[in-house]
Subunit: 354 residues, 5 copies
Amino acid sequence: MGKKKQKTKLRKRGLPPGTLVYTGDRDAHPAHVLTIAYNEIDYTEINGFDDAFLLQHKEFVRWIDVRGLTDTTLIEKIGHEFTIHPLALEDVLNTGQRAKLDEYENGLFFSLPNLRFDHDNLEIIAEQVSIFVGNRFVLSFQEDPDDTFAFIRNRCSESIGRLRKKSSDYLAYSLVDNIVDGYYLVLDDIENHLGQLEENLHTNGANPVSKARIFELKRVVNQLRQRLLPLRDAVTRFYRTDSELIDDANRLYLRDVVDHVAQLIDGVDNEREILAGIEALFHAEASNRLNHSMRLLTVISTIFIPLTFIVGIYGMNFDNMPELRQPNGYFIVLGIMGCLMVGMMAYFKVKKWL
Amino acid sequence: MGKKKQKTKLRKRGLPPGTLVYTGDRDAHPAHVLTIAYNEIDYTEINGFDDAFLLQHKEFVRWIDVRGLTDTTLIEKIGHEFTIHPLALEDVLNTGQRAKLDEYENGLFFSLPNLRFDHDNLEIIAEQVSIFVGNRFVLSFQEDPDDTFAFIRNRCSESIGRLRKKSSDYLAYSLVDNIVDGYYLVLDDIENHLGQLEENLHTNGANPVSKARIFELKRVVNQLRQRLLPLRDAVTRFYRTDSELIDDANRLYLRDVVDHVAQLIDGVDNEREILAGIEALFHAEASNRLNHSMRLLTVISTIFIPLTFIVGIYGMNFDNMPELRQPNGYFIVLGIMGCLMVGMMAYFKVKKWL
Amino acid sequence: MGKKKQKTKLRKRGLPPGTLVYTGDRDAHPAHVLTIAYNEIDYTEINGFDDAFLLQHKEFVRWIDVRGLTDTTLIEKIGHEFTIHPLALEDVLNTGQRAKLDEYENGLFFSLPNLRFDHDNLEIIAEQVSIFVGNRFVLSFQEDPDDTFAFIRNRCSESIGRLRKKSSDYLAYSLVDNIVDGYYLVLDDIENHLGQLEENLHTNGANPVSKARIFELKRVVNQLRQRLLPLRDAVTRFYRTDSELIDDANRLYLRDVVDHVAQLIDGVDNEREILAGIEALFHAEASNRLNHSMRLLTVISTIFIPLTFIVGIYGMNFDNMPELRQPNGYFIVLGIMGCLMVGMMAYFKVKKWL
Amino acid sequence: MGKKKQKTKLRKRGLPPGTLVYTGDRDAHPAHVLTIAYNEIDYTEINGFDDAFLLQHKEFVRWIDVRGLTDTTLIEKIGHEFTIHPLALEDVLNTGQRAKLDEYENGLFFSLPNLRFDHDNLEIIAEQVSIFVGNRFVLSFQEDPDDTFAFIRNRCSESIGRLRKKSSDYLAYSLVDNIVDGYYLVLDDIENHLGQLEENLHTNGANPVSKARIFELKRVVNQLRQRLLPLRDAVTRFYRTDSELIDDANRLYLRDVVDHVAQLIDGVDNEREILAGIEALFHAEASNRLNHSMRLLTVISTIFIPLTFIVGIYGMNFDNMPELRQPNGYFIVLGIMGCLMVGMMAYFKVKKWL
Amino acid sequence: MGKKKQKTKLRKRGLPPGTLVYTGDRDAHPAHVLTIAYNEIDYTEINGFDDAFLLQHKEFVRWIDVRGLTDTTLIEKIGHEFTIHPLALEDVLNTGQRAKLDEYENGLFFSLPNLRFDHDNLEIIAEQVSIFVGNRFVLSFQEDPDDTFAFIRNRCSESIGRLRKKSSDYLAYSLVDNIVDGYYLVLDDIENHLGQLEENLHTNGANPVSKARIFELKRVVNQLRQRLLPLRDAVTRFYRTDSELIDDANRLYLRDVVDHVAQLIDGVDNEREILAGIEALFHAEASNRLNHSMRLLTVISTIFIPLTFIVGIYGMNFDNMPELRQPNGYFIVLGIMGCLMVGMMAYFKVKKWL
């Protein structure tokens, strides 16, 4: 996240605020725009952005769904049509931001990341989604060309659920709820990796592979947490805003999203605890192995070093060493050493070192 | 917890909010419903859900006790009868949630986990209990078929205590209080395990079994804590709600529940401290054993390695080694080595290494 | 604390709230009751609880001092006489609670532990003291038979200080202040033990006795802290309550108690820091000793193992080993080894390993 | 930071508050002053400070840009001209302060550090910038002679963006925004160093150079964080002030700065997490190497010490050692030792020690 | 701090609150009193406390500066003269307290420690200063006889700065500001010690002296922090009090003190970070040395233990050992061992163990 943002800032320094520069991957995807107008009775959907169509459906709820942010002039045009504040438009293009809710005179600007989990690189991939909800209109902007909101559009066109009976605030809620639902998938993916990690630890013990995995997962979980904390603030402010755009009956739905985010944070905290537990186990096992290895070394050394000293004595070449001349000297020394060895092993056995 | 919830979310993605899908163990238990109506004078209890019976007892406090959540149409019917908001019904079925209190226009929705401790797996088992309290009615939903509220029903039918003299809010309080009381049992169970662990440590010293136990208990205690923190918020909001449903005289009882939850959290924190202490002791003992083993190794090596060098000298085969020819050479060398050994042992004794 | 409380809860489950069961040590002490009535002019004190006496002194400040909680019927009778809420009476008997202030319609219920330090077991012993202050009456309940409030009673009967000139709120303040003063003794006792511990560490170095002591003191300090944190809340709420029972002029005294508790918490935090420092020193010394022992081992091994190899060479029995035949071979080898030994010792001296 | 400030305080002790003493590097740079007056139509810029010019442009927005703080009489003169409170002037000269916003009767005083990253010494270099915004005037004071605000002045003279259409509050915002933008560069620089560090760790493993680098970067990141936390408070208070100087339409821009600072803090926290991860990896690798080295030592010792004992036995010089006389004795002993060696190596292979 | 306080409490238990007992070093210094009266025009200063003088200067700002607290009757007399609340007088004598601001009906009581740094014992020495500011009078009480406020008195008598033009609140501010300024000196002293410590570490590496120093400085820094945190609260409440005694124009000066304390806390936190960094470096170096020593041991053992085994083989006395009879056997074995040695050293070189 940091990197993109900073590169942007470099490019933009010296420009006045509100200047529209897309700060993501420039030559990515051409913008794809869908304009939808609906009310309880009717539903129309056209490709592209069309002033006339909007004028014609002034009494409908209008939803402009923009996918891909490269066409800044188009975005400026949309912004102009709905008199969006330049700072909000700047935020649309300034990707890599933390989730936030900004209130403007004519609407609410909600920005949050849409998360996916990249299993191959153990990475969270974030695409910024910006939603501007005004009086009977919603603008949604995504970085990527994926049709994230197909579910919603389908529910709307088929008139499933309450969507068609409600105004723009409920549509905005539906979009946010849809993205937050996607976070559960990411949490679940991480949990699966955690499960694999624990299993791997049980089967193979502490090995470098699982150690690296612990660190990677810690980073991912921390990233997810850093995404969720500002989201909680933003969603709570969405729920509590005294803007007239939000129908009181719909606040219950927003409260539900607040609950979901709180639950996600609980889940992340739980995963952090689990990871901390695994890490502690890992350290304990490593220190255990060191202890075992040191104990083996000590036992072997303590037994054999004195014995080697004894045999060294009788390997000396003094002329006058009476023991060497005794017929049973060798066997007596062997016996003494055998006793010593058995005694020390018994001692270590009692001390539970063996 | 996480897992169940996430699986649900997967299944539900794309459905509009408020759709009723049970997210727990599907083919678990058939729903068992008990309908109770009482006032200060009368008490009637029937099996199943019966519109006519409810209509007939409109002036009574009515309590529908549902055990098992598989029959979603029944739950929808009950919800419809009492005009429960769809989001509340969704929360009833969406098990594995954190404790919460949601206020609706016609009542309060309280959801909290009913905890049991599984001694065999050292695990906390949570069943979600949802309570909806409205004007002269209470709906309670449990996942499991256990008759958790038998005590309360008994007190109600026998008219013990204040229950029959009070309205639905007091009944709801009684249900919540009953479940919170169960938390003390879990805390007590964990404390017993902690006691066993400490005893085991004193008798057997740091061993792998108790190490594994420490980690398991830490996880359990953290889980319990993660359950209690949102419960404190929910109960506090229950106590402080300005809903007209709560009689001011009954707030004192809710405050009592708040106190209990605070006390439970104190207890959990205490157990965390104890576990941290045990863990620190464990680490200290492990490092102590390493120290002991290294010191033994050092002492043995420091004494015998130089001596072995000396005997090695006199094991050399040079033609001209005058000492070897001296009649007492052997005994002099033995004497010198004996002195060296005694000296070094004295040195280590003074240094408290032995 | 935990244990007692939980046992209680087990015994009580299924009983309606407000049922009076003493949860402490059942066959402990018979209750001892003292009834006092005073105003600025008069002071009367009788043994036992007497309705007539109370009726007669209705215009006086009346203080019922109950020591020992086994006689629940007596406590119920007192509660009935002053129309105390059943939950407050339950809290009186439900010992082992955290400090709290509960406001009732006719008075304030203050519960806090009276602490003593058991030097032999390094333990904090807590006795619950409950104080109910109403309009011109104060009820105080203690678990133990010690005459904790003798000082206060004396000051009252001798008319020392402002006590006789003030109403029940000042009496309640005096009782609380008296108990909080006792906390300083506990803090001081712990500090003395800390001082002994530090001295012991300086004289004897890190030894197992002081290690065990560190862990015991940490536990005690944490317990004290866990007692103080809820007490701060309770005392602050006592000071800030808008109850008409508290004369504004007396709030200054309550503020003083708040200051004392804050100071006690500062003191406990200070002791925690000191203990953490001692523990860190302890670890540092342990790791230092390990380092020393490893270095000695390394020096001895590095010097003598190569030398032993050399003497081993000349202990081989090859027929053709020219060095062995040279007349000065032995002395040359001895000289070389001597140089090696001196060289390596010099090297280790320079490296500060010796 | 600390040092400069403290030196100052030493110099100033005994002087009344509000005395103007520059606390930075005295003989640094001579002050350079630029006086600008502009409105929507006109823009004039002169060198130096000129009362007449200011009087003449009373209806314009006037901006005095002072670079270098050595000329205290000039600063006093400017302060007198705009009736700046002596404490504000003292703060201008008292460099090395934390970011703050102080409200005065006739304006707002904003002070924040302008940060640069010194790559050679891995250090953050801070220059204090003070901004006083009053009714239609802005005073800006920098320590260094760099023309930090050239961008802004350019935008103003060329009438790019909204600057010329707005009043002094927007100018102040632009200055603050410009400096905060510079923080992204510092964050980016640190991130680059982090990247190099990680790469270095992957290529060369844990080495002393990267260890030193970790500690240096931790210090830098902590410094940056300590700069940002008070800045967040100051900027938030700037955004929330109810001063009439701030036009409500411009608050949106200030909110944007608040967002940027929050994002910077997120970025810093992220870097802290990364550093903690690297440090943990570092420790893990170090302990891993110790483990490896101990295991090698143990394996070698466990294999060869017993074997050396055996050869020592047959090196003894007893007269009667039957084995020595057997023709195949030597080969049998060699064979037994070979088997032992192979057996132990197999054992260690199975145990994964080799 | 704790000790003094606790000793006091012991002595005082059983006395009613508000009893005046000096809790510091009893036979320390006789009290020294200075009475000052001034207004914009006049300044008079007399030794001792004189009712008549005070009566005569009723319209002046009167400042009683008491140094040494042993004469409790004098303090009681002063307290009586200005109708100071007994609790405030008790706090004056009850030394060793945390900083606090208490509001009384006729004035504000501010108590804060005056700090000095004892370089020899690396200790912070605190003297309690109590300031009571009422309508046109200030009472200041110090424990020690040092003339701490000479600067202020001088500024007052010489009419430097605003002091003479302002009322008692500005005088109280000046006293507090003067003491807080002294904290910078302590912070600076600690910083100097930190600098020496770092230098010592760079020159001599991790040695026991610097380890002890780290722990001492940590304790000192923590003590300073524990002094500053309550001071921040007290000063903030001084700044925010709605007492009529504080002239709104003077609040700006109090805000300045709040800023200073915040800056001091920043400085202390910075020092804590630095100390934590040094400690981490220290640990890293210690573990590094252990690693080095283990590696040397391992290398020496791994090279020479097998070689010693080989020479042991040819030191055996078997009759039939063909190698021994070969004329070049000795040289071949020497050659093989030489190769082994070179090979292993090359291996360790490659592995970077040498």
